[in-house]
Homo-oligomer: 128 residues x 2
DNA sequence: AGGTGTCAACGAAGCCTTTCGTAGATCGAC
DNA sequence: GTCGATCTACGAAAGGCTTCGTTGACACCT
């Protein structure tokens, strides 16, 4: 059961995961208030219940207001979605995606430095 | 009507778009044969009909076997999906996505060179 | 104890995607 | 012209996502 591969989170699920990643363990009320989209309380509740069934989140029922925690680390989900997009749209080439991403918007000097660092380590690897 | 923003293509639609980008104008039969997923002929047909209604593809009905062409350039769709993912999962930072993408898989020397070139032009820009 | 507010649970509805069976049109071969 | 193959069109079904109304449980306050 726990070996099942997790499904790609839907849009609404991703919104909720982002809140849980940001705030840590939270109640439905807290998530609902943080999400400033127009969705109603019961909608968020229902979605989080479904996410529990799917194994995307964990629920602590010891309090009256159940406390939810993400079971999928942010990094994993990011990796999953990126490789998914790479396969489906960029012919399996992560570099193509990177090029596309970088040419769309502005990037801070700090991030540029990080990129340079990664790029150079990749280049060093390629020489071997 | 033609000014409407195009919706995000679904998974099945993306598969078909990839074939059209690759082969150029194609009939349903050709698309169906190129796609080596298990989907049936009528399934592909129906999806392409829906895509026509949505404005994702164009149809030339002058032949008995209608000829379909993509109306959305590959680049546009890639850009759309990338900015979408950046906003929904990477807090609006394209560089974060790029870093994630590059650290997942191998990248060819040619692509590395391209990346370096882009990176350097971005760095030059940042100095101004 | 009674009233008020908060919460989870349930179920249903609406919509979209994906799938395919069937029917009708068209073409080429015989 | 008829037969068989190919193609589009139509409609419907199944499943998933998202939404929310309603209900019943529980807790706190007076």
């Amino acid at each position: 059961m726990s070996r099942d591969k997790l499904p790609r989170p839907t849009d609404a699920e991703l919104g909720i995961l982002r809140v849980l990643w940001e705030r840590g363990a939270s109640t439905v009320r807290e998530v609902h208030e943080t999400l400033q989209d127009g969705s109603g309380y019961t909608t968020v509740l229902k979605t989080m219940q479904i996410m529990t069934e799917k194994g995307l989140v964990m629920r602590d029922e010891s309090q009256r207001a159940h406390v939810y925690t993400s079971r999928v680390p942010r990094e994993n989900t990011q990796r999953q979605l990126v490789t998914d997009l790479v396969d489906r749209v960029f012919g399996g080439s992560p570099a193509r995606l990177a090029l596309q991403a970088l040419s769309t918007k502005k990037t801070s000097p700090e991030e540029l430095a990080e990129l340079r660092q990664l790029l150079e380590s990749l280049e060093k690897e390629a020489e071997s």
